[in-house]
Amino acid sequence: MPPPHPALPGPDPGGYSRSVPAAGRRALVTGVTGQDGPYLSALLLAEGYEVAGLILPGESVPDSVPAAVHRLEGSLTDSGSLRAALAEVRPSEVYNLAAATSVADSFDNPVAVAEVTGLGVLRLLEAIRQADPGIRLLQASSAEIFGGATTSPQDEGTPLCPVSPYGVAKAFAHQMVQHYRRSRGIFAANAILYNHESPRRGTGFVTRKVSLGAARIARGLETELRLGNLEVERDWGYAPDYVRAMHLILQQDVADDYVIATGRTHTLRELLEVAFSAVGLDWRAHVVTDPALLRPAEPGRLCGDPSRARARLGWAPTREFAELIREMVLTDLAGIDPVASLSDPAGAAAPPSQQPG
């Protein structure tokens, strides 16, 4: 956003504008380099926000992060960096998308995951309380907090029952957000996000692993795709729909928690069916199940009931499952140059994943 008075000394090139934009709203997004960060940043910019993104020291920023996003270094593990970021940006809204997001990795690094995904949120809440308790916080909570739920679908009142170190850390963050809302009067809200995918999904996630695998097999770069449990069932939605919900949640009069989900589940088997048929292949000829890719504990049937979001936010998902998966496969296919495919970064740069989902 250009400074309103070009004749006056402007901000440093690339620095954060000190002027209040027309809408007067500034947002700070943590985890801006993930799948959701760029989608959310683009949406906020379109809504007239000034947007700052917190990046880890030394972290490379993907091209998907809009150029207009001001980049600040900081980490959820460092309270001082959070205080400094809030002081510099003076946001009206903070979107906490940062987390160690791989459920499978969390079994290997439970302490590190807890530091970022759990305690990091508490550090952010405390920083907000001290800097300006009027700041609104959107916490990207997760369906994994319901991991072992015995009821389906889950809604905002379902008891938490996490079954992975990731889920346990997210549950901690979820309840701290509720605590700061109820006892400290902070406008802090949880978006309980069920799985949400897009062509920008990280290659460690099962949907992208499948879409990329199907595309590479179709291009003749691979012959097989190794996966864990094919019976896992997930409620898979479209990431841009989910960041829209995040924004809507912070525009309400009262802070509350919302399940953001499609309300429909599909198995990994169905996902394979759609993905491979998008490139005219039969998945049975290519998929190998590998016990090494099974998780120590697999969540049960996670299916969200988004009734509250539908009723209060007027939110509804726009993309069907099959449509979403086909888009992912075709994007991956287009990213692989059929001639120079062996040196193509979109394919060759993707490391083989150890994570089932």
């Binding site: 309270s79 079994f107 439970p110 302490v111 807890a114 530091e115 759990g118 305690l119 508490l122 550090r123 809440l125 405390e126 008891p159 938490l160 996490p162 079954v163 992975s164 170190p165 889920g167 346990v168 850390a169 549950a171 901690f172 309840q175 701290m176 605590h179 109820r182 006892s183 400290r184 120590p296 504990a297």
Partner: protein, 330 residues
């Protein structure tokens, strides 16, 4: 060969009782102690001379690994926590670090050093917070209302997770309030009995308290540490509520405590808004039927006995000002 146990939080109320109990059961008992010249070390050393103290900190996972490698425990009792609910509002992050993440650090240290070590996690009724049903049992959903409660829920979930995902013998004892003459002065029960003794001895004239209607399920700490030990002697790891199943209000506690020395609490107690918590919990009352059935555990000290025991102890300590136990308290 005698069994070996490691206790974190050994300088706390339960640490002392548990160390005594395990020593009496023939264990070699190690206690984790934080920092240099920790003044509370002297107290617990005097209480349990057989206890071996070793330095380590729930903040520092490598120190935990070193301690496990040095002490070779068969059982680890994790009582270490920032356990004062009101303090957790002021030091939320520190509470999350110790009371919450400290559990993961210890569990992960066990997984790395020797996954056969049995682990006891001191969970708390504060996890139930704004309760959805009464009494609360092992299946009651959590709704914590303080940073301490949220951190304890985290500790509980991660304990269950290590049991289910890594196969550790890890149990969570959901303990309702348990008191004793050794309770810290920052806790309401001990604050009252200390205040009663001071007023009785003419050292003070009033006692300032917060919400007198707060109700708790108060048991005797000596009974509760027995339950901790029993949980680690079972064939299968499981979680247990430990409670008396009775609730009493702060008012009833006052009635009995002041009555024990022939005083009326109404003449001395001042309600002070400053002691009201930002979000106080509703009625907490535990259903310990499973502990009774599976562990054969029963509380042995009833509420009036507990109050009398605490008042008597405070009277004794304050009337003998030169005794080492009362050092500095006046």
């Amino acid at each position: 060969m005698s069994r070996s146990a490691l206790i974190t939080g050994v300088t706390g109320q339960d640490g002392g009782y548990l160390a005594e109990h395990l020593v009496a059961q023939g264990y070699e008992v190690h206690g984790l102690i934080r920092g240099q010249n920790n003044p509370r070390a002297t107290v617990v050393r005097r209480l349990v001379p057989e206890l071996r103290l070793i330095e380590g900190d729930l903040h520092d996972q490598s120190s935990l690994i070193a301690v496990l490698e040095a002490t070779h425990p068969d059982e680890v009792y994790n009582l270490g926590a920032i356990s004062f609910v009101a303090l957790s509002f002021k030091q939320a992050i520190n509470t999350g670090e110790i009371t919450g993440l400290g559990v993961t650090r210890m569990l992960d240290a066990i997984r790395l050093v020797n996954p056969a070590i049995r682990f006891y996690q001191a969970s708390s009724s504060e996890m139930f917070g704004k309760v959805r049903e009464a009494p609360q049992n092992e299946l009651t959903p959590f709704h914590p209302r303080s940073p301490y409660g949220v951190a304890k829920v985290y500790g509980h979930h991660i304990t269950v997770n290590y049991r289910e995902s890594y196969g550790l013998f890890a149990v969570s004892g959901i303990l309702f309030n348990h008191e004793s003459p050794r309770r810290g002065l920052e806790f309401v029960t001990r604050k009252i009995t200390d205040g009663v003794a001071r007023i009785k001895l003419g050292l003070e004239s009033e006692l300032r308290l917060g919400n007198l209607d707060a109700q708790r399920d108060w048991g005797f700490a000596g009974d509760y540490v027995r339950a901790m030990h029993l949980m680690l002697q079972q064939d299968e790891a499981d979680d247990f509520v430990v409670a008396t199943g009775e609730t009493h209000s702060v008012r009833e506690f006052l009635e009995l405590a002041f009555g024990h020395v022939g005083l009326r609490w109404q003449d001395h107690v001042v309600v002070d808004e400053r002691f009201l918590r930002p979000a106080d919990v509703a009625v907490l009352v535990g259903d310990a039927a499973k502990a009774r059935r599976v562990l054969g555990w029963e509380p042995t000290v009833a509420f009036p006995e507990l109050v009398a025991m605490m008042v008597e102890s405070d009277l004794r300590e304050l009337s003998a000002p030169l005794s080492p136990a009362a050092g500095g308290r006046r």
